[in-house]
């Protein structure tokens, strides 16, 4: 047995995870936390759907509904979808480029803990006087008028977790630029790596406006500033702009990694290299670029005037072109291929038409004059669930099945996987397709109830039934995970048999140093190339030598904890005398932790060549 897989006590394992800087463990942490928030957000969605099942329903009160609605959107976007994707990026991207770790293992851990503490802070609002209730967009006039501390939880929680995401983005960018294995040129990188790269760049540029916007909101609410108060010269539209300058790129931050995941799955299970690889890369970059030019399409009805509306309408439509390139490239990857319908592939295949539907309604929304009708109705709700659930969530579910063996060394049950898939797909279309019509028939979004006899009954009940299908699907997935983990049947390097990129060339799960010797990459789909030449392993690019590894650290946890404490202080500063001291205390914890990190030299450690050889023997034995 190798040393690292020895059985450890619960305490030791816990401590290991609290201090880990290993990208694969951080990936698991992201997955667990993100999965937890996904179920939470899903439960909130169920509350929404139950409340709206029949007219004049009293399942929840009006005020509570708004809290649920806000937390559903915020949780799903910031605490579920994005972190889960970051988890897969962490798990897979370094392996795909043949790296031993990410560029900044320490920051990687810091990013995770910031996200987690931000998310916990946000969700503690449920128990501390009420959750935020101004929608995930938290438009300024309402978010300033909202009573209690809900919106403060929103602002401070997102601020903290936003820092985490930003750090994660920078980390991935540097990793991809600096840590590629010999021969892994940019145009040989797997598409998931490319989309990680572009999504990270989007994070880098999109999060600062959100940071600024949230600072303004916090200052206005807690420190007496007047950014959004028109009577003091302020202007609420500034919030709308800042939010959407962030918000629109954010949706591409979500969908691009999803595109990457599907590109991998489709080419794997078609046994074909990706059709039009370079145009795929080009389209990815172009989508990222255009993503920054279109934010005002969320503000068509704000009153920006016809010139601005027209410019942003046309710019928005332009995004259909690179996205279309991708759709057709996927189709033609499968064309002439040898398609095997595994669970991940089922998701990938059904993603194409599902996302297409959401994409084309996006273009319909871009028709500014017609958007005056669609805006803030269920048509928009239908649009974005089609792209998000039909794109991002399907990708997450697909990746869960696809990469599970790589991350945990054991396969999820295919039969249960397919049941999950069918239930989820049917439920998804049932829930959201009808919502297009509800919107057009005059149903605004964000309403806690609707009145009878307005023609909205049937659509809503259908939609609710669909949501239950999705819930059952998710429960079956959870059962599948439990069963699989208990059985724990180990699999080899390339359990799907059709792996193409580097991650499939090493053990499942990979040893903590990933590659004993860095592999030599000779083209796109390097592992496939070697397999086609009858080899089982990658050709190494370097002789066996010592491997340098970073030390574990508890500091990331402490830095994040400090901000978490400080946030409470900032929020209760005006209510209680202990607020200010706690604020200062929290900031001190953070600063001192950073200080410790700065002055304590941390050179990491080396795994010696001899141990690597020993381990090899141990494994073979």
């Amino acid at each position: 047995m190798s040393t690292y897989a020895q059985k450890k006590g619960v305490g030791a394992v816990l401590w290991d995870y609290l201090t880990t800087v290993d990208h694969k463990k951080i990936a698991i942490l992201y997955l667990i936390a993100g999965g937890f928030f996904f179920v939470l957000g899903g439960l909130e969605a169920m509350v929404i759907r139950i409340q709206l099942a029949i007219p004049d329903n009293n399942f929840v009160s009006a005020g509570f509904y708004n809290e649920v609605l806000t937390m559903h959107g915020t949780t799903m976007i910031f605490l579920a979808a994005m972190p889960i994707l970051l988890g897969f990026m962490n798990a897979v991207m370094p392996l795909q480029i043949g790296a031993r770790d990410v560029a900044f293992p320490f920051l990687n851990a810091l990013g995770f803990w910031l996200f987690l503490f931000g998310g916990l802070f946000l969700n503690l609002s449920w128990f501390l006087g009420g959750a935020p209730d101004a929608g995930w967009t938290s438009y300024a006039s309402l978010s300033l008028a909202s009573e209690g501390h809900g919106i403060d939880f929103y602002a401070l929680g997102l601020q903290i977790s936003g820092f985490g995401t930003l750090i994660g983005g920078i980390n991935f960018l540097v990793t991809i630029i600096n840590m590629r294995a010999p021969g892994m040129t940019y145009m040989r990188m797997p598409l998931f790596t490319w989309t990680t790269f572009v999504a990270s760049a989007l994070i880098l540029f999109a999060f600062p406006p959100l940071t600024v916007g949230i600072f303004f909101l916090t200052f206005d609410r807690l420190f007496g500033a007047n950014f959004f108060d028109p009577t003091m010269g302020g202007n609420t539209v500034i919030w709308e702009h800042l939010f959407w300058i962030f918000g629109h790129p954010e949706v591409y931050i979500l969908i691009l990694p999803a595109f990457g995941i599907f590109s991998e799955i489709i080419s794997t299970f078609s046994r074909k290299r990706l059709f039009g690889y370079s145009s795929m890369v080009f389209a990815t970059v172009l989508i990222g670029f255009l993503g920054f030019m279109v934010w005002a399409h969320h503000m068509f009805t704000t009153g920006l005037g016809p010139i601005a509306n027209s410019i942003f309408a046309v710019a928005t439509m332009a995004i259909a072109v690179p996205t279309g390139i991708k759709i057709f490239n996927w189709l033609f990857t499968m064309w002439g291929g040898s398609i095997r319908f595994t669970t991940p592939m089922l998701y990938a295949v059904s993603f194409v038409p599902s996302f297409l539907l959401g994409g084309v309604t996006g273009v319909m929304l871009a028709v500014a004059a017609a958007d005056y009708q669609y805006h803030d109705t269920y048509f928009v709700v239908a649009h974005f669930h089609y792209v998000i659930v039909g794109g991002v969530v399907l990708a997450i579910l697909a990746a869960t099945h696809f990469y599970w063996p790589k991350m945990f060394g054991t396969m999820l049950n295919e039969f249960l996987g397919k049941i999950t898939f069918w239930l989820f797909l049917i439920g998804f279309h049932l829930t959201f397709f009808i919502q297009h019509f509800l919107g057009l028939m005059g149903m605004p979004r964000r309403i806690f109830t609707f009145l009878p006899n307005q023609g909205l009954e049937v659509g809503n009940v259908v939609s609710t039934v669909g949501a239950f299908f999705m819930a059952i699907a998710v429960i079956i997935l959870l059962i599948n995970i439990v069963i699989t983990s208990v059985k724990n049947v180990k699999v080899g390097n390339d359990p799907w048999g059709d792996g193409r990129s580097l991650e499939w060339a090493i053990a499942s799960p990979p040893p903590f140093y990933n590659f004993k010797q860095l592999p030599l990459v000779r083209g796109l789909d390097p592992y496939w190339i070697e397999k086609m030449e009858g080899k089982k392993e990658m050709t190494p690019a370097e002789p066996l030598g010592d491997i340098h590894m970073p030390n574990n650290s508890f500091i990331p946890f402490m830095i994040s904890l400090g901000l978490f404490i400080a946030a409470f202080g900032a929020m209760y500063r005006l209510d209680y005398s202990w607020g200010l001291p706690v604020l200062i205390l929290g900031l001190l914890v953070t600063l001192l932790s950073m200080f410790t990190r700065s002055i304590k030299d941390d050179h990491g450690f080396h795994i010696h060549k001899e141990d690597l050889i020993d381990e090899d023997k141990g494994r073979k034995a």
């Binding site: 031993r100 960018l173 630029i177 760049a201 880098l204 540029f205 406006p209 202007n235 539209v237 500034i238 702009h241 300058i245 920054f292 030019m293 005002a296 920006l304 005037g305 601005a308 340098h548």
Partner: protein
């Protein structure tokens, strides 16, 4: 995974050469600095003394600021040196996004 720096056969020569190069760089930087101070002076003067029209002064001082920042970036922050391709790409992307933001805030937020 340390990355080897290429050093020539004779370290002494190499060292002298580098010292000279550094000194030369430093000279450029001092010149840059003088230019920056000069530009700053002009900007302040344009606002402080001349009875110039705003339509001239505002774009003019903005231009001076941009020039000065370019000096700062390329000489003080060494963006002119090799190995700064990725920094350039990302800095300019940031500038572009920032520019669009400023433009939007000056045109489509009501007064």
């Amino acid at each position: 995974m340390a990355n080897q720096q290429s050093t020539s056969e004779n370290p002494r020569v190499d060292l002298d050469y580098r010292r000279k190069k550094n000194a030369e760089d430093m000279r450029y930087q001092v010149i840059t600095f003088s230019l920056m101070i000069f530009l700053t002076l002009i900007a302040f003067a344009a606002v402080g003394f001349g009875d110039l029209s705003n339509w001239f002064v505002v774009p003019f001082i903005l231009l001076l600021a941009v020039v000065q920042v370019i000096f700062q970036l390329y000489y003080f922050m060494h963006m002119s040196h090799k190995g700064h391709e990725a920094p350039q790409l990302f800095l300019y992307s940031g500038v572009l996004v920032g520019f669009i933001t400023v433009l939007a805030f000056m045109t489509i937020i009501w007064w």
